[in-house]
């Protein structure tokens, strides 16, 4: 049973890591805890839901959902945060704005579409489970695991190994200096918003596929886990988010499997508070993405 539980934990943790990637990138570069991020996640899942209902295959619906969520992210980011960035408002102002916005967006969406859970058309990916040496995993779970790994690698390459990454790191370090050196910081902020939003959207589709449950508040529920992952992993630390996501998943599953299932949700927050007390820069010690 322990082997299966560890597999359950890693697969669950992969969903948390996948969710948190764009969130931590956004903080690392734009210095904003953007709570609307959870809405991009919901939006991506709904775009894929509607496209697959209209008969499009998943290989088309997934990238379309990512692009759609990215576009929404660019627009919302511009509407909500441009003004604050111009006036150099503090982190708390942007936190409050995105908090209010995401609450209104979830509630508006629930009022418009109804709060019911929707399901993707069966048979998009093999819905049955595979039996690997006695361990049961589904195709969707393997997709998520692969996607998390690939996306972490791609993000690290983008930030460290490309000219865009150089500009992003410059902006994360000192936005004013970057602007003076001729980097178009407004355009770069939009690019980073797009990448984050697209990551959120893709995560929404894959996680919606895995749990087969799509509803307006799905981003809000993930967001609470997302806080834990990005704080424990270190705000802005991409690799840290992957490790922290997997850790959280395994700890939650082991708590539910061997201690008490009622404590499953609380254990993550207990870790969060403990990390804030002792190692506020994150469990893995690297202060943030500026050194990603």
């Amino acid at each position: 049973m322990l082997a299966q539980q560890l597999v359950n934990g890693i697969l669950l943790g992969a969903t948390y890591a996948l969710f948190a990637l764009g969130f931590t990138l956004m903080f690392g570069v734009l210095r904003v805890i953007n709570l609307v991020y959870g809405f991009y996640f919901t939006a991506g899942a709904f775009v894929a839901l509607w496209l697959t209902q209209a008969g499009f295959p998943l290989v088309l619906a997934l990238p379309a959902a990512a692009v759609g969520a990215g576009a929404i992210a660019v627009v919302l980011d511009a509407v909500l945060l441009t003004r604050l960035r111009r006036t150099k408002a503090d982190e708390l102002s942007s936190l409050m704005v995105t908090l209010g916005a995401v609450l209104a967006l979830y509630a508006g969406m629930a009022a418009w579409l109804g709060p019911d859970i929707r399901r993707l058309r069966p048979g998009l990916v093999g819905s049955g489970a595979l039996d690997l040496w006695g361990l049961r995993v589904t195709v969707a779970q393997l997709l998520i695991l692969a996607a998390s790994g690939v996306l972490v690698g791609a993000l690290l390459w983008l930030v460290r190994g490309t000219r865009l990454g150089l500009a992003i790191r410059a902006m994360a370090e000192k936005p004013d200096a970057a602007a003076l050196m001729g980097i178009n910081t407004a355009g770069l902020a939009a690019t980073v918003s797009f990448i984050s939003g697209a990551l959120a959207g893709a995560g929404g589709v894959l996680i919606g596929l895995n749990f087969n449950a799509i509803h307006p508040y799905m981003g809000e529920q993930m967001m609470l886990r997302g806080f834990v992952v990005v704080i424990v992993g270190g705000l802005g630390d991409i690799f840290g988010a992957l490790l922290a996501g997997l850790l959280l998943g395994v700890v939650e599953v082991l708590t539910a499997g061997y201690l008490a299932s009622g404590l499953k949700e609380a254990v993550g927050f207990a870790i969060l508070v403990a990390v804030l007390w002792t190692r506020p820069a994150g469990l893995f010690g690297r202060t943030d993405v500026r050194r990603a």
């Binding site: 936190l95 409050m96 908090l99 009622g262």
Partner: protein, 280 residues
């Protein structure tokens, strides 16, 4: 009192109670914001006050005039535990830690049988009359008004405008921040005790994330120039859904929009009036 007037009052008594309780909650958010911090744990502090006071009444049988002040103990203890380590860090950490506090407490309420689990605690005697609630609100307003005009009030404002400069001026930043968080826990704890003793029943889902955000919208709508602003904001947002029936679906949309618009366009709030101060 004429019978129809009595009926009218009875009909809206719960709304009157909500005005008083929400006014106190808005003040509890105000004191934190006034010192440049953000806590999303106000609902959690309220829940601690509500649960601890309900237990004191139901199982210990203490009289209400002891229960009410004692209801501040648990919220203050948690404020110290969460606030102490996080206040050194930038404001976002306190905000996130207080969200975490709310979720951990919810799990505790749900899993401890003595706290009723999902069934909550019911049969709490209705000992908090609207008179008591508004007396507490008035006292809180008066204290905050006096503090706001004093040196402490100036220190809080300096902290809000520029923490580094405030420190350079000799203000003990950590201490003011912790004091402010404790004061806000007291106010929220009182609000919780009063509300528990006005409505018979409390449940674990009354003190989650969404109430915390609603409390923030009270304070931001009213503005933090003076303690009267947040109370006004709370009253407006409490009455609106009563005036427009069938509004439940859109209440949270409104609360959220209020926050967005207030931060972006009305940084001083609806009541953009700053209290007069004595010269230093």
């Amino acid at each position: 009192m004429a019978a129809w007037l009595g009926d009218l009052y009875w009909t809206y008594q719960n709304v009157v109670v909500a005005l008083g309780v929400n006014g106190l909650l808005a003040l509890s958010m105000y004191v934190v914001l006034a010192a440049g911090q953000l806590s999303l744990g106000q609902a959690a502090f309220m829940g601690l006050g509500a649960y601890s006071s309900a237990l004191m009444t139901l199982t210990l049988g203490w009289p209400f005039w002891i229960v009410l002040p004692a209801s501040c103990v648990a919220p203050v203890a948690f404020a110290l535990a969460v606030g102490g380590p996080t206040l050194r860090l930038s404001g976002v950490y306190l905000a996130i830690a207080t969200i975490g506090l709310g979720e951990v407490l919810r799990a505790v309420y749900l899993n401890v049988d003595a706290l009723g689990g999902a069934l909550g605690l019911s049969g709490i005697p209705e000992q908090a009359s609207p008179g008591v609630i508004f007396a507490v609100l008035a006292a809180a307003l008066a204290v905050l008004w006096l503090v706001g005009r004093s040196g402490t009030g100036r220190a809080m404002e300096a902290l809000r405008e520029d923490a580094t400069a405030a420190q350079a001026m000799g203000i003990d930043v950590g201490r003011v921040r912790l004091a402010v968080l404790v004061a806000s826990a007291v106010l929220a704890g009182l609000a919780g005790a009063l509300s528990a003793h006005a409505t018979d029943f409390i449940g674990p889902n009354d003190f989650g994330f969404e109430p915390a955000v609603t409390i923030l919208s009270f304070a931001l709508l009213g503005g933090i120039g003076s303690p009267f602003g947040p109370v006004l904001g709370a009253w407006v947002l409490t009455l609106l859904p009563e005036v427009f029936r069938g509004f439940a679906d859109l209440r949270l949309v409104l609360d959220g929009l209020v926050i967005v618009l207030a931060v972006l366009f009305l940084p001083r709030g609806l009541l953009a009036w700053r209290m007069p101060r004595k010269a230093a």
